[in-house]
């Protein structure tokens, strides 16, 4: 499966999803003009990934760092995490890490909100 690589812009995060080593990275600010248009190819890639990845392929790592996200991107990130939640319930082995700026309590609060929104374990790491 081809990797999904999207360069960051001022209002969209960098995306680097690699099916081979199962490391998925999403990093940067997110407040595009149309969040659903931006996140739709990411959702499609993930749907394909979770149907093709084998149980014994090993750990799937998701690394997230979102210094700022607007409300419609928040909805999209929630939809993204729900896909991981479902995959984990289906027996996939996940390791989710959420990086936040220790000087910005808003970023931590945002990550903690997501913890409340989905049943998915993730590590919070201050940088």
């Amino acid at each position: 499966m081809e990797p999904l690589i999207i360069e960051s812009t001022k209002s969209t995060p960098m995306v680097d999803f690699n099916a081979k080593n199962r490391i998925l990275i999403i990093k940067g600010q997110s407040y595009p003009e149309n969040s659903f248009k931006f996140y739709d190819p990411i959702f499609q890639w993930l749907d394909m990934f979770f149907t093709t990845v084998e149980d014994d392929d090993g750990l799937i790592k998701l690394e997230i760092s979102l210094p700022y996200i607007n409300t419609s991107s928040t909805k999209c990130i929630l939809m993204l995490l729900e896909k991981f939640e479902v995959a984990e319930k289906n027996g996939r082995n996940m390791d989710v890490t959420w990086y936040y700026d220790k000087e910005n309590e808003n970023e931590l609060e945002c990550a903690q909100d997501f913890k409340e929104f989905v049943e998915l374990e993730f590590n919070l790491i201050a940088v």
Binding site: E33, S72, D101, F117
Partner: protein, 181 residues
Amino acid sequence: MKSRLTDIQDVLGSSGISICFSGRFSQGLIEEIGDAVKMHMESEDRPKNDIFNVFSIFVEQSQNIKNYVISKEQSPGRNRIASSATICIGQEDDRYFVWSGNIMENSDVAPLLAKLNKLVGVSKDELKKLYKVQIMSDLNPEQTGAGIGLIDIAKRSSQPLEFSVDNLDETYSRFELKVIV
């Protein structure tokens, strides 16, 4: 004789406004103004949380207006609505504010006021709960007409939201929202 530009500058200065835009919004403009707001606040050594909150409120308010303009693309008054958008960032009693306004069709006023009135006098904890309910709903936030954006704005504001509507004629009204961080 005083020039009209100086008059505008005087009004901005006496209102505490440091950054102001009036006219048709674009995503590019929102990004540039957002950066200008951040840089302005960083140069004043404001806490990161304050900068984040002002930036967030600015983005939500300007994207709400922009989404409203897009929803009116088929309306005969589309140009008047699009060019009516105004957003100002400034300081009052050492607190930052984001103050925005735009022309709306009269039929859209009541639903917006209903949403805003639901947020009046609501505690931060209640706002967090409302936010969760709205974000967990199946609705696409770009189609809910500013619902979740307004809850987020209310969560980040330190004072009750100030809003008003002036009826202009039988078709249009002018809406304003001032958020103090």
